[in-house]
């Protein structure tokens, strides 16, 4: 196989689908830039959280009071594995000619992501039962906004996955569908990185400090 130049960071389709590979260049580049804008959003949410996590407690619950570390750890494992499964899906997209492997790995990713969201909703529910609602203090407002923004992004990714599964069925493995899957992959991995930061700077730091 002729070696194609890498046109953009990440998965390149040059060796298996030259046409899509060329089409991908501006599309994937643009999406990376969009992700950068999204990351700035999260960076600001982190900065806000940092400024409010201690001084914004207003005598209410502190991180140690409300954070469920084991649950957060399981969520981390779920999301990390979902990134691995999506990586497998991307490889299937690139190297397999059929849809079966791709769909299998996507569905598995979906289940892991849905599990993450389910556990997070449960965590929030328990917190509200304890009175740790966002209306209680600035710290909690910042916490819920940061983590829920991430959760909403993940949920949007899950919806996107459903749409892609439908499109694979209806449209097949066309160039447009491949490019959308490549963008969804980048989106998903970025969210995983953001979660690692949340687990570290919010949960672990919150309990340790």
């Amino acid at each position: 196989m002729k070696r194609q130049p890498l046109l953009h960071p990440g998965l390149n389709l040059g060796s298996t689908d030259e046409y899509s590979h060329d089409e991908a260049e501006p599309v994937i580049f643009g999406f990376w830039i969009f992700l950068m804008a999204d990351l700035v959003l999260f960076a600001i949410l982190f900065a806000t959280y940092a400024s409010m996590s201690v001084q914004g407690q207003a005598g209410g619950p502190s991180p140690t009071d409300v954070f469920d570390l084991p649950s957060a750890f399981i969520e981390t494992m779920l999301l990390l594995s979902s990134s691995i499964t999506f990586g497998m899906a991307s490889l299937a997209l690139k190297y397999k000619a059929d849809r079966l492997h791709l769909v299998f790995w996507l569905v598995l990713t979906f289940c892991l992501g849905a599990g993450f969201i389910g556990m997070e909703v449960r965590d929030f529910w328990i917190m509200t039962q304890q009175g740790a609602v966002p209306q209680r203090s600035g710290f909690l407002s910042a916490f819920y906004l940061l983590v829920a923004t991430h959760g909403i992004h993940v949920s949007a990714g899950l919806c996107w996955m459903i749409v892609m599964l439908v499109q694979l069925r209806v449209l097949g493995r066309t160039t447009e569908v491949k490019l959308r899957l490549m963008r969804l992959a980048l989106f998903w991995h970025m969210l995983d990185i953001v979660w690692v930061c949340i687990f570290t700077f919010v949960y672990l730091f919150g309990v340790a400090l």
């Binding site: 001084q55 407690q57 207003a58 005598g59």
Partner: protein
Amino acid sequence: MFSVATTASNGFINPAGPIAEALRDHLIFIVMVMAVVIVPLFIALPWTLWRYRLRTKSGSYQPNWEFSWPLEILIWGLPAVIVVVLGWNLWHQSYELDPYKPLAAAEAPLEIQAIALDWKWVFIYPDQNVASVNEVMIVAGRPVRFRLTSGTVMQSFMIPRLGGQIYTMAGMETQMNLLASEPGQFRGLNTQYNGMGFANQKFITHAVSQADFDAWATKMSDSKPPLNQAAWALLAKPSVLAAPQSFGSVAEGLFTWVIAGFTGGHPHMKADGTDL
């Protein structure tokens, strides 16, 4: 109407104290330094427009001339030098004229606690245990230290002829150190928009002698009603007062109580990041 710009106006260009005077002088200095880069433009531009106009007979036409090292060095270098000069000054002036910096004087500063409300200013004199609303008494020639907070939204305290301004915020304390050189009357105001009565939120500063100030404080103690919870509740209602008010005694710890009302008594920082 136009001629009273400097002599009768209320701005810092008509200073009544050393801080406002310093601010005015710094402004003039900046203008003069910047003139070095700006005035050449005012001269060179009309000259260029004339010499290189379409039907000119004198200017040469070099459509591809686009670079000159000496000019580049001048264009980048001169502003850089100006920035260094102005920056050096800026650094020192920021420390010297920090509102939190106590003013050098033989005597201790007059302490006043100011609470910004809608749409009025409450001034508490903790050492004299009196209070005045929409007017403040200070001693001419003696530094004053204001400790400020807000009972409502973000506001900004300023007596333009004496110095600059500082924001007042609920649950937080800010400080302003001022000095009036001579006795007089100066207008103060809130500069940060806070609603329908914003334009009316002005107060008068009376700078008097120490003797007059003491006499005033005694007179207030003897004759004026107390600033208790009931009186405070009335003041806290959004309203514009027709005339200044005075109080002969102040509920203990009113200023800290106002701040604590927002922090719930929990530690909350001052605006400069240190704890209250």
